[in-house]
């Protein structure tokens, strides 16, 4: 329809958004597919054959993907049940602590656990040798170690999603099962578990996509003993000389096929098994009273927090302050010399910190703006265009961030018209795309709670579309936007999987600097730098104290 006085602002914004998401999401996807089929300028099946021949690495990737998912979902689900539905003592505090690993990167957890559990120099083994005279008690530089640490790091995702679903389930459903003769356990199994299935599967898929494309944990715990997965293989293909871009792209395509295929299956499954009984409404759940075993559950949750948060952070702190790594108390001296080194002598610190902070602020700000604009179009103007926006902006959930980075690399090494390669702009594009689903979900959640008539009333009182957004929508969604902003900032400062492929010496970021120190074996400086990185994260968390990730993630 032709409109007098030009196109309306809303229509223009909708069309602009379609261009932006296509550029952000579809372009790198297409690039990975094209890159995989192109070897040294021509079409070739060589890279495919090479990759499909590395059955060992494919098997390792599958072990890490499936193992991490199973452990993280089982642990996260158990914690959700214990802290959201059972009268576990201290559950309010514990449910906050259990989400803390979200703010500690898997890289740091892996490094700390490598120091604790490596077969030779691991602190646990050293202590055992000193105190008990036993050799090599634990060895985390194995597939089991990778799965263990990755699962620890990803537990908060299933925990948040499943406990949100548990809270929004009408307790009357369970009560009626009890009244009709089911025991507590039976009603959980027959009524609750099937109703939780969408949340369980959803979080499983989320973890699986992350675990399949995982780089940091297998790089720290796997590479030393020759345990390679797709993520580390992509890194090696690009870091060797000459870089094997096509091979990396084939790995990317392989990962993408698996994750996208599973996402498609899940969507189909959920279409048949979504239950209207799990509404967005919050119920006051009836706490199951289980007697004395509830104390065991509290110990179990506290143990998780100890292993996933306290022990790694304490290890990093200790290593940052001690003169060198030793278990002999007589040799230990504590001081700030590693901090001094990292802050005043190590040349990359300032550059990395500056880049990370700029990227954090830019990603969070642009991400919130883009997320709100997209979710406004999706929620307020349903139609064919908004269905496209909705679907495409959720694609990155099925794209491991390394694969995304590969696509961007392929595009921007060539794209002379848009010279972002070698600048932090390419990292910004990667972060924005990777975290787009979080921003859009947060925005949609906030807008669905905002009655559309509040905006209509402004239009009817003479406000244009943009004034309505500025004066009504923005102020009323501000709490969610602030929470989303802080989460996006923290996630960007921690990001490594795509950064490791996209950075150059001028555009290094904190996580990459930490990884560099790890590869150089400079453990104390590394500990000091990661303590600084953690401090930034927790300062932001404190500053936005009331911002709850719960609403944003779930």
């Amino acid at each position: 329809m032709r409109l007098r006085g030009g196109v309306s602002t809303e229509t223009a914004v909708g069309a602009g958004l379609a261009v932006v998401v296509t550029w952000l999401v579809i372009l790198p996807l297409a690039a990975v597919a094209i890159g995989a089929a192109t070897d040294a300028g021509g079409l070739s099946a060589r890279p495919f054959l090479d990759v499909l021949g590395s059955t060992r690495i494919i098997a390792n990737t599958a072990i890490v993907g499936v193992g991490t998912t199973v452990f993280a979902v089982a642990l996260g689900g158990a914690l959700a049940l214990a802290l959201a539905r059972i009268d576990t003592p201290g559950r309010a505090l514990l449910s906050r602590l259990v989400t803390l690993p979200l703010y500690i990167t898997p890289l740091l957890t892996a490094i700390a656990w490598a120091w604790l559990g490596s077969p030779r120099g691991g602190l646990i083994n050293l202590l055992c040798r000193r105190l008990l005279g036993i050799d090599s008690l634990v060895n985390l530089e194995t597939s089991g170690g990778v799965v263990f640490v990755a699962a620890l790091a990803y537990v908060p995702l299933p925990f948040l999603l499943i406990s949100a679903a548990l809270r929004s389930m009408d307790p009357a459903l369970e009560e009626s099962a009890r009244i009709h003769g089911a025991s507590t356990f039976q009603s959980l199994r027959i009524v609750t578990l099937p109703l939780m299935l969408p949340a369980i599967l959803g979080s499983a898929l989320l973890v699986f996509v992350q675990a399949m494309g995982l780089f940091s944990v297998p790089a720290v715990l796997g590479m030393p003993s020759g345990f390679y997965v797709a993520g580390t293989e992509i890194y090696r293909s690009l870091n060797n000389f000459p870089p094997r871009l096509a091979q990396a792209a084939v790995w990317g395509l392989l990962l993408l096929t698996v994750t996208a295929g599973l996402t498609w299956l899940q969507t189909r499954f959920l279409r048949r098994h979504s239950y209207a009984t799990v509404t967005g409404k919050a119920f006051r759940p009836r706490m199951l009273e289980i007697g004395w075993p509830r104390h065991l559950l509290a110990v179990f949750a506290a143990f998780y927090v100890a292993v996933a948060v306290v022990l790694p952070v304490a290890t990093l702190l200790w290593a940052a302050l001690v003169n060198f790594i030793t278990v002999d108390p007589d040799l230990m001296e504590f001081g700030f010399k590693h901090f001094r080194y990292v802050l005043f002598e190590y040349p990359k610190t300032y550059l990395a910190m500056e880049n990370s902070l700029i990227l954090g602020v830019a990603t969070a700000t642009l991400g919130c703006a883009l997320g709100l604009a997209l979710s406004w179009s999706i929620v307020r103007r349903p139609g064919r265009l908004s269905a496209y926006l909705d679907q495409v902006s959720m694609f990155p959930l099925a794209m491991p961030s390394m694969v995304l980075a590969l696509g961007l690399l392929w595009v921007y090494v060539r794209a002379k018209a848009l010279p972002v390669y070698g600048t932090i702009a390419i990292l910004l594009i990667a972060y924005l795309t990777h975290y787009l689903p979080i921003a859009v979900r947060a925005g949609s959640g906030a807008l669905r709670q905002l009655h559309a008539e509040l905006e209509d009333a402004a239009r009817m009182t003479g406000a244009t579309w943009s004034k309505t957004i500025r004066w009504i929508t923005l102020p009323l969604t501000a709490p969610t936007l602030v929470a989303t902003w802080s989460l996006l900032f923290i996630l960007s400062v921690q990001e490594i999987s795509s950064s490791i492929l996209l950075y150059t010496s001028r555009t290094t970021v904190l996580s990459v600097a930490v990884f560099d120190l790890w590869e150089a074996g400079n453990v104390n400086a590394l500990a000091a730098l990661s303590v600084i990185q953690l401090a930034i994260t927790f300062l932001v968390l404190l500053a936005f104290g009331r911002a709850r990730p719960r609403e944003v993630v779930a």
Binding site: M1, R2, L3, R4, S8, H451, E453, L454, D456, A457, A458, R459, M460, T461, G462, A463, T464, W465, K467, W471, I472, P475, L476
Partner: protein
């Protein structure tokens, strides 16, 4: 065309589903038109299309001589440029602003400062009995007060036509009746032109100069409250306005009797009925409608034979359910002790009060 607001051939569709089709009406300056109908009849969609909050697929809307929507010319003026105001069902009071800022929003939008806007805002607040509430945060208001603020906001912006979307439906019964009277008085004093949407027939009767009864996205009947009440044209309108006795009938014209016809009901009961449509072409099969108060009950004499099946004593009135063969009618009368259950009675209807209803 002298209408102040004119809607012609309006259609709104969501994909293949037509929510509103072929709706046309006009409102004179100072007139109050009500769109009345059950939920899902398209009344709110029609109102929102007039407001510009919904984009119609067909039709033309003209306000005060200026077209604001025309599907043929591709004209669609955005809502803020149509010079309307609107009161919403949810009130839509902005919780992050004070009462003053809510009511004075139209001035802020036009870049008029607070002090210059103050007299108009305070006048509007005084009109809805909220003088002195200006600095109150809007989130600290009761439902009834929010309703008044919404009204003040609509008054303050000095619009051509005020649109009201079920503004009273969220209030409790007592407050609703009080606000109804206030609203009617306020509109009379301000000489507003308004389009009102409701599903409550009493509200429609009390607040309208004309009523458009809607069903399935179309206007089924348009007329003054008295007309609509006295002469519903269709089975739906009659039923929606509480005509209790609607009975299938076969109609036969009575030669030389003008608008009167013979209606044959089930069980060979024959009544004389009046066709309110002047064309004299009553359909063969239709229905007749009679209000319960228009039926005379006697214990003997002329009329159709029936038996009191059951009765309901309600104080001032009693409801008698009378069975005559296969049909049952409801009669409202003063309580009459002689009409006990099982009593044989005769009933009659004045042909003027027995209406032919079309489908």
């Amino acid at each position: 065309m002298s209408a102040f607001l004119a809607v012609e051939g309006l259609g709104v569709s969501y994909g293949p589903i037509a929510a509103v089709e072929g709706v046309a009406f006009s409102v004179e300056r100072g007139e109050h038109l009500t769109l009345l109908g059950p939920s899902g009849c398209g009344k709110t969609t029609t109102l929102r299309a007039v407001a510009g909050l919904e984009t119609p697929s067909a039709g033309r809307i003209v306000i005060d001589g200026a077209p604001v929507f025309d599907s043929v010319q591709g004209l669609n003026v955005p809502p803020e440029k149509r010079g309307l105001s609107m009161v919403f069902q949810s009130y839509a009071i902005w919780p992050h602003m004070s009462v003053f800022d809510n009511v004075g929003f139209a001035f802020r939008v036009r870049g008029i400062g607070r002090e210059r806007a103050r007299p108009a805002v305070e006048r509007a607040l005084a009109l809805v009995d909220l003088a002195g509430f200006a600095e109150r945060p809007a989130s600290r208001l009761s439902g009834g007060q929010q309703q008044r603020v919404a009204l003040a906001r609509a008054i303050a912006c000095d619009s051509k036509v005020m649109l009201l979307d079920e503004p009273l439906s969220n209030l409790d019964a007592q407050l609703r009746i009080a606000m109804r009277a206030e609203l009617s008085e306020l509109r009379r004093r301000l000489g507003m032109t308004s389009v009102y949407v409701t599903h409550d027939q009493e509200e429609a009767f009390a607040l309208s100069d004309r009523i458009a009864v809607m069903r399935g996205g179309r206007i089924e009947q348009l007329g003054s409250p008295a007309e609509i009440y006295a002469e519903p044209r269709t089975r739906f309108v009659a039923g929606f306005l509480g005509m209790r006795n609607i009975i299938d009938a076969e109609l036969r014209p009575l030669a030389g009797q003008g608008r009167y016809v013979e209606a044959r009901l089930a069980g060979d009961i024959v009544l004389r009925a009046r066709d309110p449509v002047a064309d004299g072409n009553a359909p063969r099969a239709a229905a007749i409608g009679v209000r319960p108060v228009d039926i005379r009950l006697e214990t003997a004499g002329d009329g159709i034979t029936g038996v009191v099946a059951r009765s309901l004593f309600l104080g001032d009135v009693a409801h008698y359910y009378v069975r005559s063969g296969p049909i049952e009618i409801c009669v409202h009368d003063r309580p009459r002790p002689e009409l006990s259950d099982g009593r044989e009675v005769r009933w009659r209807v004045d042909p003027d009060r027995c209406l032919v209803l079309r489908e």
